[in-house]
């Protein structure tokens, strides 16, 4: 049984939450430009570590908001809870993020330039 710290509501029983699986999977925006194998990395292949795991959770029977959580899959210790869109801050969770095979996939690479160009477009709009 886990007591989970919802960043919006505080500590609540695990039955109030639903787990959304692996966090930080960026959708390749130019999906027609990458191979089926690379798209499978995004769609089906999952990190499944024995140890610290970065997951998305949702307080489905509470505030219904999503958040990220770094949890150990052996001890069930919650190391860190952090907002959607953010990266982990603790050293252990950071290292899990940086060393994940997913960071090197073509699928994730395909998501990045699109993001950069979005930012540029936003900047361009701002300067007008």
């Amino acid at each position: 049984m886990m007591l989970i710290e919802c960043p919006f509501c505080g500590p609540r029983d695990e039955t109030e939450f639903s787990c959304g699986g692996e966090a930080h999977i960026a959708r390749p925006l130019a999906e027609n430009k990458i191979s089926d194998a690379d798209f499978a990395d995004y769609l089906f292949m999952r990190d499944n570590p024995k140890g610290l795991f970065l997951e998305r959770w949702r307080h489905s029977a509470g505030c219904r908001r999503w958040f990220n959580m770094a949890r150990d899959t052996v001890s069930h210790d919650v190391v860190e809870v952090y907002p959607m869109g953010a990266l982990p801050k603790t050293a252990a969770a950071k290292s899990v993020y940086n060393t994940s095979w997913r960071r090197d996939t073509a699928a994730e690479q395909a998501a990045k330039p699109a993001r950069a160009s979005q930012k540029q477009a936003a900047k361009a709009r701002g300067s007008k």
Binding site: M1, M2, E14, T15, S18, C19, G21, D36, A37, A40, D41, L43, F44, M45, R46, N48, P49, K50, F53, E55, R71, T73, V74, S75, H76, W101
Partner: protein
């Protein structure tokens, strides 16, 4: 499909010198049963094998046995980090059935069922296979309709399956509550009479003994710490008891598949989840079949010792802790008590969890990998026990011939790239 009998392998009388029989019992009685042979040798790892199977559970031992019995590969080893059958083989609820929706699933689970039907004779070991029937209950109109679709699909594949109405169910299982006012009323169900249960430990022990008899080394307390590669091909296995040279490695490690795959730099679509089960104190016989309910994530049977064996659904988050969260069995027990009011005062004796390797399409992976000589048999998720003989049989064929046979081919890892998934969530995603 129904007339295709699996190749059980060419060999003399199984059991070899220590063959079990009524005569052997009488003979050993004369020496006060002090001279029974060990069921299998406690082998030391050799420097090199033709193939190494990682994982000494039912599937791994079955693979080793069929490699030796069907394909004549006897210079092989099974390495196990704990003890034989100490993982999910010893933790499941022992249900066996082959009533799956899709043709690919029917092929492999029915292949397995046929092997079950002669397994005790093949192994000269009583696996206590009992074809007591498996009855799956529908709790809503929609579920019943979906069920009849499935029954027809199953029958088209030559597998026995029939729909029962609530009254027929009551006649078949007198202890069940078919009152329509309960939270999950019994609207009907479907029955596979050839389904049933087997003694899970005996399956591991029987395969181990028969494989050992054919010369397979079974090495317990030997943990894999790494897979050694030369370029894109496998050259050996690093273990806690030293390096073992081999050209072929078969990984059959269930919940730890992702961990072993990571040693070789391979990605799998698997999530490891706890699946829980409980047994009660033993009572007189009240249930002579297996009841499953997908809607309430409950399945129940009675063991030969009289214990009620209950299984729950998987937990909703990844874990390697071999224990589950409390709300899951609580939900299942509430439904069990409503369906079987006779259980309400029963005390539960033991409760445990096993780590199952769930796949996105609730079907297994039996596959070659991008690394030459490295094979995976995993992703059986919540329902691997029933497939033990069939899984071992086709996986042995894959390892021996380095190409999947007709039954194994649809289960290649490649299906997650091609999109040819075998979606069995309806039949497999929940209950076993």
């Amino acid at each position: 499909m129904a007339d295709n009998q699996p190749d059980r392998g060419q060999r003399g009388l199984p059991g070899g010198k220590s063959r079990y029989s009524a005569f052997a019992i009488a003979k050993n009685a004369a020496s006060y049963h002090q001279d029974w042979q060990r069921a299998w040798r406690d082998a030391e790892p050799k420097a090199e094998y033709d193939a190494v199977i990682i994982g000494g559970g039912g599937h791994g031992l079955a693979t080793a046995y069929y490699l030796a019995a069907v394909h004549g590969m006897t210079n092989i080893a099974v390495i196990e980090k704990g003890w034989l059958g100490g993982g999910n083989t010893g933790r499941n609820t022992t249900i066996i059935r082959s009533n799956y929706l899709w043709d690919e699933s029917a092929a492999i689970y029915e292949h397995s069922m046929k092997l079950w039907e002669g397994l005790s004779q093949d192994l000269n070991f009583n696996v206590m296979f009992s074809q007591r029937g498996v009855l799956t209950i529908a709790h809503s109109e929609h579920e019943l309709r979906e069920m009849s679709r499935r029954v027809h699909a199953i029958r088209l594949n030559g597998i026995d399956s029939e729909i029962l109405g609530p009254d027929e169910i009551k006649k078949f299982v007198p202890t069940i509550n078919i009152d329509q006012s309960i939270r999950y009323p019994v609207m009907g169900g479907f029955l596979q009479r050839r389904g049933g249960t087997a003694r899970h430990d005996a399956v591991a022990w029987g395969y181990a003994r028969a494989a050992d008899d054919l010369g397979v080394d079974i090495i317990q307390k030997c943990e894999v710490t790494g897979l050694r590669r030369q370029g894109r091909r496998i050259v050996g296995v690093e273990t806690s008891r030293g390096f073992i040279k081999t050209k072929k490695v078969g990984c059959v490690v269930a919940g730890h598949s992702s961990v072993v795959a990571a040693m070789a730099g391979i990605r799998l679509p698997i999530a490891s989840r706890p699946l829980q089960a409980l047994v009660s104190e033993p009572i007189k016989p009240i249930l002579d079949t297996v009841i499953m309910s997908n809607a309430v994530h409950m399945y129940i049977s009675q063991s030969d010792k009289g214990e009620m064996v209950l299984g729950a659904g998987v937990d909703k988050y990844n874990s390697y802790a071999q224990r589950g969260s409390f709300p899951v069995p609580e939900h299942m027990l509430a439904a069990a008590v409503e369906l079987f009011p006779v259980l309400s005062r029963l005390r539960m004796l033991r409760h445990w969890g096993g780590i199952v390797d769930t796949c996105p399409d609730a079907s297994p992976i039996i596959s070659k990998t991008d690394i030459e000589g490295l094979y995976f048999d995993c992703g059986w998720g919540t329902g691997g026990f029933k497939a033990t003989p069939g899984s071992g049989h086709v996986f042995a064929d894959l390892i021996a011939n380095d190409r999947p046979n007709k039954i194994a081919a649809p289960y290649a890892l490649d299906r997650f790239r091609s999109g040819l998934l075998i979606d069995e969530h309806g039949a497999a995603g929940v209950a076993h």
